[in-house]
Amino acid sequence: MDLSLSTRTVGDRTVVEVGGEIDVYTAPKLREQLVELVNDGNFHLVVDMEGVDFLDSTGLGVLVGGLKRVRAHEGSLRLVCNQERILKIFRITGLTKVFPIHTSVEEAVAATD
């Protein structure tokens, strides 16, 4: 399955809904999308990973890159994920300490630091 991306605005947050597989082939599309959003002034992002079937280290790298970009504008990047197999990858790489991970889009949108 290829990567699917759609974005919508909820309040001052931009929700990016990702579906399919994020790997070495598809990750550049996600990177482009995140870069474009930040360039357009969207600095508070919520990446909804509930539709993601596969995530590898290339995908993790893109998310970390996105986080760096929004932080440069004092923004935020929150993740929504309940899938154990995806969460496991964040845990073994120590990235659960880097990304706020929420159980629903509503929770992520409402969250403040």
Binding site: D23, G61, I92
Partner: protein, 144 residues
Amino acid sequence: MATVELRFSALPEHVRTARLVAAAVARRAGVDEAVLDEVRLAVGEACSRAVGLHQVAGIAEPVRVALIEEEKQFSIEVGDEAPRSVPGDRTSGGAAELDVDAEEDEMGLAVISGLVDDVEVTAGEHGGLIRMTWPTTPPGVALT
């Protein structure tokens, strides 16, 4: 020879094919269903790394994947042909770019070593090899 061998051009779009084939052969070999996600991820990481190494070094040779069914275990070998330079051999001009590549490379290896208990990484002047092994359950045992 290996149970199944795969050789693919060093292009990102073929890594998914390698993952699918590896998971299918692993399942057939008796690797636990709960571990198949890890097999898929680990082989994907190893192949992505090999593709990156070939592309950076401009190597036209394909990436090699060997799926090996043995008694009580299943192994996957991912081989690349990218020669490794001696540490400290870097030229100052391309150092920053190389460091970025090295970081991504490390992330892939970190995921593999986090996922797979039995993994060997070797590299030399003719290329590198990652060998990962998982235990299998004989079909007869699984059914009783």
